[in-house]
Amino acid sequence: MHNNYFGKTLKATILNIIVALFITGIIIGAIYLLANKQIEEGISLISKVSIDMENKEPTEDMKLTTEDNRISNYPEYGTQYATIKIPKIDVDLPVYYGDTLDIIKGARVGHAGGSYFPGEGGSIIYMGHNSTKVFRRFSELQKGNEIEVKTDYGDFKYKIYDMQIVNEDEPEKLPIQKDKEILMIYTCYPFVYIGYTTQRYVVYAELVE
């Protein structure tokens, strides 16, 4: 008698669980049909703001392809990829990819995102503070002085051909172009000043080697 109850209950329970799973399948199928695109977009958006520091793949070395003068494997934002030397004013500093205040803090030079890299044949824009550790002595620079940039993929030598004081709202004085390789380095002006400076001292140099 008890076995009979048990058998019937078990059979009905299994059947009900199968029905429940089937219903779940129907709901999932309906959601998939109605919102599959939105779900995929959501996941891709989240993966864009995900940084897995533990399982990070090592970045490959930067290379300059000679056919089209393009860099392969650009450096990660906020990392050092070069050093800059200006012998005339004893500058020998690391160059970081990025231009936020956090990146250029202390004795660092930043590379403006959006400008070209050394060797690519276009405008390269670097910036640094006007502190004594960085570009305080920019006023001593003269036309013809040399600037050396050393990267993992090559060394580049530039010669200064102009210096200008520009306002911070004159981006046209730092034009982005790809006709000629020009290195433009700017710092805040006046060099010794207290407060927020609205002018920039720009040094223009062209590639010689």
Partner: protein, 279 residues
């Protein structure tokens, strides 16, 4: 006729499963991300206030190199209490619809005093009043943007108020719909009351399986612990809240699985006993 009743009963079981899911989602969201108390408790848990205070100090120091000043001018410009108070203002703006501005007068005064003191010690340095004011304004702007990270508090609050209105209305509607569906399912089972119990169990089990699968799906496809947004304290709080919501979803899922199976077994067992006795 019997076959038609059976089909209708299964359709109602599917509808009940969807309604139970909606009930779970509404409850999970209103007890987590849509609750001001919950948000405040999570900020406390992640030590958000001291984290954002350190972040602001770090950002202030980034402005030192370009100003011709020394780091000492940033000493005692802000306090952790001020930061905590301003974070709470922002939270109230979002959750309570207040339109309170973050007051930077204290920062301006402290910074002005520190800069004046610094300048009085220096000799032969150009100090333009306008440039200093502009610099202080930049620092205050930086403070405000690190505190709020959004200019859309009012819009977020409007959206929040709308959601809460719909949730309150929806909750009542969901409960009524749930009750009606259960009554109709029981009515369709005629005299077999216990079949009605197992039918409700099927709906609850389906919802439980769905929530469990959804939890597994999210955990497989989204690496919550690698999400990085704006700065350390915000990232830490966001990760904690998302992980917490996922664990609440998992808990709801497991409870529904257990309740569903118990109701199915109980309903079937009682039904077979009663049916046999009647025979």
């Amino acid at each position: 006729m019997k076959g038609l009743a059976l089909i209708v009963r299964y359709i109602l079981i599917i509808l009940l499963a969807i309604i139970i899911l909606a009930f779970a989602i509404v409850n999970i969201s209103s007890s987590t991300i849509l609750s001001k108390d919950y948000a405040l408790s999570k900020l406390e848990e992640t030590e958000y206030y001291s984290g954002i205070y350190q972040e602001i100090e770090k950002n202030f120091k980034n402005y030192i190199d370009q100003s011709g000043l020394e780091e000492e001018v940033m000493n005692n410009v802000i306090t952790e209490d001020k930061v905590k108070n301003d974070v709470n203002i922002m939270i109230s703006n979002i959750y309570d619809g207040k339109n309170e501005e973050i007051d930077v007068a204290e920062i301006k005064t402290n910074l002005n005093n520190n800069i004046d003191e610094y300048i009085s010690k220096q000799q032969g340095v150009k100090a333009d009043k306008d440039a200093i004011e502009k610099y202080i304004d930049k620092i205050c702007e930086q403070y405000k943007s690190t505190m709020t990270h959004t200019d859309y508090e009012q819009q977020i609050n409007n959206a929040y108020m709308k959601i809460m209105k719909y949730i309150n209305l929806g909750n009542k509607g969901i409960l009524i719909a749930m009750l009606v569906l259960i009554i109709v399912i029981f009515a369709l089972c005629h005299n077999r009351l216990f079949k009605g119990i197992s039918s409700v169990g099927i709906s609850i089990l389906s919802s439980g399986v769905f929530l469990t699968i959804a939890n597994i799906f999210v955990n497989t496809n989204v690496k919550i612990n690698t999400i990085t947004i704006l700065n350390g304290p915000i990232t830490k709080s966001l990760r904690l809240i998302l992980n917490d919501i996922m664990s609440v979803i998992a808990k709801y899922g497991y409870w529904m699985l257990a309740i569903g199976i118990v109701l199915i077994i109980l309903g079937n067992l009682m039904d077979s006993i009663k049916y046999k006795e009647e025979e």
